[in-house]
Symmetry: C2
Subunit: 205 residues, 2 copies
């Protein structure tokens, strides 16, 4: 599946509109108008509105696991690596937040006829990598054992997404303007998540 410039333009326009207004809240006419193309081009290139979304997921699907394994393989101290993993996750998820929002929403209504197998398989692989890392930390005595590893990423991703979904609320609460949100995510929010997970992994009841 290689895409020409015009197809990519359509995908990225659709990503923005889908994440802003939802899949059902976005019309093909809106997409074509915003992308500056004729409405028939969507069917011409992608077949249908649903297949357009599938193409978008594929387009944003990428090399996260390699980056993750690269960070781990540096063999720094566990707590340091943990910080790096979390910073990586937040950075990646933030960059692709729009597509993740679409996935979150469309996947949670089982109704739609979209193929999420690829996305889920990748998610499972990433979890396995993190699970192995945590266990190695437990074996060396750095991490404690009374931890639900499967829910670790739930907390990492959940914290980020809740912040993102309630962006406007946090902007007023934290006195952030649009431009300072970006730095807040990569500093305060990232540090909060890092502290949370480090605390949890070193916590003895």
């Amino acid at each position: 599946m290689d895409l020409n410039d015009k197809q990519i333009q359509i995908l990225e326009t659709a990503e923005e509109l889908f994440s802003e207004n939802g899949f059902d809240g976005t019309s093909v006419r809106q997409i074509s108008k915003a992308a500056g193309i004729n409405i028939a081009m969507v069917s011409y290139y992608f077949g249908s509105k649903e297949k357009l979304l599938e193409a978008l997921l594929l387009y944003r699907m990428s090399d996260f696991r390699m980056q993750l394994e690269s960070v781990i393989s540096k063999n720094k101290p566990h707590l340091e690596t943990l910080d790096a993993i979390i910073a990586l996750i937040v950075k990646r998820i933030h960059r692709n937040r729009r597509t993740h929002k679409i996935i979150n929403f469309e996947y949670s209504n089982g109704s739609r006829n979209i193929d999420f197998d690829n996305y889920l398989a990748q998610k499972k692989e990433n979890l396995n990598v993190i699970e192995a890392f945590v266990k190695s930390g437990q074996d060396t005595g750095v991490f404690s054992y009374n931890v639900n590893i499967q829910l670790l990423t739930t907390t990492i991703l959940g914290t980020y997404f809740h912040f993102y979904y309630n962006n406007k609320y946090y902007q007023t609460l934290l006195n952030l303007d649009n431009s300072s949100v970006e730095s807040y995510v990569h500093n305060e929010l990232t540090h909060h998540i890092q502290n949370t997970i480090k605390a949890l992994l070193t916590y003895e009841k």
Copy 2:
């Protein structure tokens, strides 16, 4: 705003459909059919589809803050109260998860013309109550100071919602059937969140 049985029936049907298929993904005809009423009754009772949603938010809006303050005013040890607060939050949010999902998604697209002021004001009040509780714990030396209190609830709610939004993923990952999800939420998931927040609040860098 007092509602008769038929209006409540419409609201609860709409809640289910909105949370399953989204606001735009749900048609007035679907709602009326599922609720077993004539399509014109929606306009007749609520005026429009959007006002129907506003009525739903109002209907689910409730006495959470009183429950929260009641738990705190029992003056048990801080760590014990913290557990109780988190269990309460998860219980409440889980019961009203459908409406919260709708709010999350409709609020995050600023596009829609829905009045969220009530919801946001309540949210801010709840945060103030929790903030006061944490600070009293810090003063008595039970909780540490290096914590971003404003992001505490982000982690609590975010963890729950991420679990809920990816329900199907976690069902296969954790080998849960539909009936055991309920108990997983109130046991493992709640315990995980309790441990996470307790760890974070007692964590010294």
